[in-house]
């Protein structure tokens, strides 16, 4: 966690090579196990519970999903077996310093260069962007606006003209990076999906990532609840465990209600993800909004229930609290997602 890389390479090798987690959702044709997105759900909960530092999320939930949704056969053939085997890490570079979560936020541009393309601009908030082997970059055709004109490109992390730097963040459990594209030339086969339709592909990828993130948030929120309950059973004041006081007991009860409801929201969205349902967007946004609120609430209550020890560096509570805030802002805050749900309801 404390290295600039942001994760332990030995752990990553173990979970990708020995445990084959990276192969789970990759189709069998590309060296994976071909399991469903719903099968991924419990694993994401566990990773959230442990605040596992690894490039799994960026590689599988962003990189592999974008390739699966938008890649041609040759592109999948080229990248997915490496991802399944844990040899290739990947990520999606869609956001920029302007802090927007919509197509307008894509200001980086591309221009045609013979049969290939030249990419220019600065991406930011790129998860594991400083270490990923493969960057999937959103850029727009010069002088286009809105969703029209955005395309996604596959760019090797070490391509000429790419400058990447770790972006130090309050949450230390997931690394963000800036990626500067200084006239980066890519070939025609770097285009992912249809030219000009990249924002739609980006949104669909993000929805899948939001669902996985929601499952992580459920696991992490539940860990906060468990820590609170364990502590409330053993910490004594006034001669009895503080968990016997309603002031503490009722906080824990509310946390349980939120955690189980958040689990329902994420579980429902995961179930839809495998089926290509039209309601996926609403389900993903519902899950992201509710699970973000739940995780933040539980992480904050966990500190309060722990009292003095809860706000120290020594205790793990702060790591969950910081991660909760970071996860809440990632891929659109709860208010962004509620507005999206409102639109889907026809409001």
């Amino acid at each position: 966690m404390e290295t600039e890389q942001g994760y332990d390479s030995a752990t990553w090798e173990q979970l990708s090579e020995e445990l084959a987690w990276t192969a789970l959702t990759i189709p069998e044709d590309y060296g994976g196990l071909g399991m469903s997105y719903l099968d991924l759900h419990p694993l994401m909960e566990e990773m959230g519970r442990a605040l596992l530092c690894s490039p799994f999320f960026s590689t599988i939930c962003l990189g592999a999903n974008a390739l699966l949704l938008g890649g041609g056969d040759a592109q999948k053939e080229q990248h997915l077996p490496g991802i399944a085997a844990g040899e290739t890490t990947a990520t999606l570079a869609y956001a920029e310093k302007n802090n927007r979560t919509d197509a307008e936020g894509v200001e980086a541009t591309y221009s045609r260069n013979g049969s290939g393309y030249i990419l220019r601009g600065d991406k930011s908030y790129v998860i594991d962007g400083h270490t990923a082997d493969l960057l999937i970059v959103a850029a727009r055709l010069e002088n286009s606006d809105g969703a029209e004109g955005v395309s996604l490109f596959l760019v090797p992390g070490d391509a000429e003209g790419v400058k990447r730097a770790w972006l130090p963040t309050m949450d230390q459990t997931r690394r963000l990076a800036t990626v500067e594209l200084g006239d980066v030339a890519v070939a025609a086969d770097a285009l992912l999906g249809e030219e000009g339709r990249g924002w739609d592909l980006c949104e669909r990828t993000l929805d899948l990532a939001r669902i996985a993130l929601a499952a992580e948030q459920v696991g992490a929120a539940e860990r906060c609840l468990d820590m609170s309950v364990e502590y409330a059973k053993v910490r004594k004041q006034f001669g009895r465990p503080i968990g016997s006081f309603q002031a503490i007991k009722h906080k824990c009860a509310d946390m349980l209600m939120m955690v189980e409801s958040a689990r329902s929201a994420a579980f429902y969205a995961s179930a839809l993800a495998g089926q290509g349902e039209p309601d996926l967007e609403e389900a993903a946004s519902s899950a992201k909004a509710f699970c973000s609120d739940t995780f933040f609430h539980c992480a904050a209550e966990n500190i309060q229930i722990h009292g003095g020890i809860g706000f120290t560096w020594e205790h793990a509570a702060h790591m969950y609290f910081k991660r909760a805030k970071a996860a809440e802002a990632l891929f659109g805050a709860p208010s962004f997602h509620r507005e999206r749900v409102a639109k889907r309801m026809g409001l």
Binding site: Q246, M257, Y268, S286
Partner: protein, 391 residues
């Protein structure tokens, strides 16, 4: 994601739907949608007749074993029936206390004679039951009941008062928690006694709620009599029996309830569009939040219904706290969306609109059947294993 139904279960759904439509579009069409929250004291006689018709056709107590007059339906089938019932606009069921509380208690704790005497008229819809639990001094602290029963000859003689008794005005019988040993610790001196309502020693006074309707009543016992053999589960063992009764509610009614909530939510959305509140970013957030909450409630319920095993899982423990909060908040949202129009009545002298009725009645939702505070104690102690407080 939906409830996964087998072919037989789907056929059961169709059968229920066909029967309900035939009845509620025909002889009972005036009862459609009557007797819901805030309207439970209307059309009593007609609803009793409806209960008997349901019974004759085999639609009461469908979850009970066949040898006791039920259909032996699974919890899933019960949930499906409930959903169809609400979808067909079935009226508030006056027999539900007998069917969901007293019946299962007798099946679990009653003697063969008690079962033989009392179960058949519940199935047929001929005897209506009410629950004599709360007292002025025994609300959340239910074990503090003071209503006293004394054995005189072969009869129990009962003195005291119950309150918040739903449907006492039209019930034939009441199961009453009485103190039968005032020396014993408070949980150990209580008996669960079956008392006929239509007798001289009982007086019922309806309580008018804030919405103007009278769902609940006070019941005064002044020398009321009950048969010596009509104690369920043994003398002084009533606390255990009463706690058992509470555990029988396993959520069969939950899908039906959500269908009602869905309809209320749709009304709220329609109001937002009509008043222009749908363009307000803050209202959009609140409406979306309510919509998300409703979807989650449904998935919670599906998880609860798919749960196998007799224990109450965590989804079941949170159910009451979740829905009552959600429903209360929806009522507030509805009134906020209406703005000044929220004040306007349907008519004089005090005829409320449907929305005003459930807005007001939702304030009772977080109190009856275990207040939010009691629910949180139960979740904390049973769901999370937190230590009890000294009692």
């Amino acid at each position: 994601m939906e409830l996964q139904l087998t072919k037989e279960e789907e056929a059961f759904r169709q059968e229920a739907r066909a029967w309900l439509q035939e009845q509620l579009n025909g002889p009972f069409k005036d009862l459609r949608g009557r007797g819901a929250s805030g309207d439970q004291d209307t059309y009593i006689e007609e609803r009793i007749a409806w209960g008997k018709t349901m019974g004759a056709a085999g639609w009461n107590c469908i979850g009970w074993p066949k040898e006791l007059g039920g259909r032996g339906c699974t919890i899933k089938e019960e949930a499906v029936f409930n959903e169809e019932y609400v979808r067909a606009n079935g009226p508030g069921n006056v027999g539900h206390i007998g069917e969901t509380l007293l019946g299962p208690t007798l099946i679990h704790f009653g003697s063969p004679e008690q079962q033989k005497r009392f179960l058949p008229p519940i199935v047929s819809g001929e005897e209506i039951w009410c629950q004599g639990y709360s007292e002025p001094g025994a609300g959340s602290d239910l074990a503090n009941v003071q209503t006293k029963a004394t054995l005189v000859g072969d009869e129990w003689v009962i003195e005291g008062q119950k309150i918040w008794t739903s449907g006492a005005q039209y019930s034939d019988w009441c199961f009453v928690l009485c103190r039968t040993d005032s020396e014993a610790p408070k949980h150990r001196g209580i008996s669960y006694i079956l008392v006929p309502m239509r007798q001289e020693g009982i007086e019922v006074r309806p309580i008018k709620q804030m919405g103007g309707s009278s769902e609940f009543a006070e019941v005064f016992f002044d020398g009321a009599k009950a048969h010596e053999d009509h104690v369920v589960g043994g003398i002084n063992n009533g606390w255990k029996v009463a706690m058992g009764t509470l555990a029988f509610e396993r959520g069969a009614s939950t899908l039906g309830q959500q269908y009602l909530f869905q309809k209320e939510f749709e009304q709220v959305v329609a109001v937002a569009k009509r008043t222009g509140a749908a363009n307000d970013p803050i209202f959009r957030q609140r409406i979306a939040d309510a919509g998300i909450g409703l979807k989650i409630m449904r998935v919670n319920a599906l998880r609860m219904l798919e749960h196998e095993g007799a224990d109450l899982n965590r989804e079941a423990l949170i159910s009451k706290l979740y829905w009552s909060n959600w429903h209360r908040d929806l009522g507030k949202l509805a009134m906020d969306l209406l703005g000044p129009e929220a004040e306007l009545l349907e008519g004089a002298p005090y005829e409320l609109t449907g929305m005003q009725k459930w807005y007001l009645f939702a304030r009772a939702d977080t109190i009856y059947a275990g207040s939010n505070q009691v629910q949180r104690n139960i979740i904390g102690e049973r769901g999370l294993g937190l230590p009890k407080e000294p009692r």
